[in-house]
């Protein structure tokens, strides 16, 4: 399968990428690892006229500490995130989530910024970001803004990012030693979650239970009120609106959300 024709520019800097986006608007797309965008382009679900390659911008990759947060460059690849000693110590849930994306070859190419911008509600990293209560840092022609994970995702494959904004970094609170749980139910190797659950610090996030990664707020409230993990998990599917596909109907997804939430709360590491 061959993508439709496009022009290609390797961005020289973040500002260069932003100015090209501002010029070309919806006709342009950012390219980093390309592991969400290129499959869409090969299927002709996306046909941008210009690809702006930010994959070579070293200024956008790497992990640092800023006070009580980890700052992860948007073009940091999944394998580097999963293998980072810093991330494994300070935000082990995020490192684990990165290790669950696709397969080794995919993790060698795909980036955290790409996965979050793509905003597939079944994906690992959007769910992990919501569970951790992290945020994304967006840079556009008018400056830099930070958007919390809870308000970043708007719908299927849709975020609050403007067409002329570049995601430059991801921020997550440092959580060394805090117990966390992660459950991903799949039936095939290297697949997306049929349902996923990530839990840490009283927050519970669900993958593939609606148009965006969702908080299981009813279960969180039950937990805060003193319910047992099993008791809280009974509420995990409340307020969700899962879709149906060949893998699972809605009621089965709701059942999975309850079972996986119980497992995520009962089998915590950290």
């Amino acid at each position: 399968m061959i993508p439709s024709q496009f022009d290609y520019v390797a961005a020289e800097s973040t500002e260069h990428a932003i100015s090209l986006l501002a010029e070309r608007g919806d006709d342009a797309k950012l390219l980093a690892g390309g592991h969400s965008l290129l499959p869409m382009m090969k299927l002709r679900l996306a046909a941008p006229e210009l690809l702006i390659d930010i994959g070579g911008l070293t200024e956008l990759a790497g992990v640092t500490i800023d006070g009580d947060e980890l700052v992860i460059g948007a073009t940091t690849r999944h394998a580097d995130l999963a293998g980072s000693e810093l991330v494994r110590a300070e935000a082990p849930l995020l490192a684990y989530a990165a290790s669950q994306v696709g397969d080794p070859q995919i993790r060698h190419r795909g980036t955290i910024g790409g996965s979050l911008s793509h905003a597939d509600p079944a994906a690992d990293l959007p769910m992990a970001l919501v569970a951790l209560g992290g945020s994304v840092v967006l840079q556009g022609p008018n400056g830099i803004r930070t958007v919390s994970a809870d308000s970043c995702f708007r719908g299927y494959f849709e975020t609050v990012m403007e067409p002329d904004e570049v995601m430059i970094a991801v921020r997550v609170p440092r959580r060394p030693g805090v117990p966390w749980g992660y459950q991903k139910f799949v039936r095939r190797a290297n697949d997306w979650a049929i349902v996923g659950v990530a839990a840490i610090n009283g927050r519970i996030a669900l993958a593939n239970m609606g148009a965006t990664p969702l908080r299981a707020t009813a279960a969180e409230q039950a937990l805060a009120a003193g319910a047992s993990p099993a008791g809280a998990a009974e509420h995990a599917a409340e307020g969700t609106s899962p879709g149906e596909d060949m893998h699972a109907d809605r009621e089965y997804r709701r059942h999975l959300a309850r079972v996986l939430t119980r497992r995520a709360l009962e089998h915590q590491t950290g």
Partner: protein, 158 residues
């Protein structure tokens, strides 16, 4: 058209390519290196696996322009003509193939794995090949070959 310069199997290459040209098509059709196969063409089967800067990637989901300035190794580049790389030798010795279509990808994924983890357990080897599908389902001998290749590299370095 965009000019790309890169290294493939140790040789410097420079070519004019369409930006939409996939790396696997560049390797197969421009350079005539046919080891990397196009299987599923959807980043699932791993038959197109090559090493990009030493790391396994699926070349059906990389643009040739993204490889500019980088180092690509295909199965043709693993060993001098007429010789076998230890991983290739282990696949032959253990009959780690049936129809052979997935084999170049399996071999390249294995070379990538052993560079990161020279002594994988069987479970680690199976997980590391999660992105490579064998349509003959010949996985047992493939895993035997991976573990034998790891042992062979130990003997060489010992």
């Amino acid at each position: 058209m965009t000019r790309i310069a890169l290294t493939v199997n140790g040789e410097k290459r420079s070519d004019e390519v369409e930006p939409r040209l996939l790396l696997v098509h560049y390797l197969r059709e421009v350079l005539g290196l046919r080891a990397a196969n196009v299987g599923c063409d959807t980043t699932s089967c791993g038959a197109c696996t090559v090493l990009l800067d030493g790391k396994s990637v699926k070349s059906c989901t990389v643009l040739a322009v993204q490889a500019a300035g980088h180092d690509v190794i295909t199965a043709e580049g693993l060993a001098p003509a007429g010789e076998l790389h230890p991983v290739q030798a282990a696949f032959r010795q253990n009959h780690g193939l049936q129809c052979g279509f997935c084999t170049p990808g399996m071999v390249m994924a294995t070379v990538g794995l052993l560079s990161e983890n020279p002594h994988p357990t069987e479970e680690q080897a199976r997980e590391a090949l999660e992105g490579n599908l064998c349509r003959c389902t010949g996985y047992h001998n493939i895993i035997r070959a991976v573990l034998a290749a790891a042992d062979a590299s130990t003997e060489v370095s010992a």
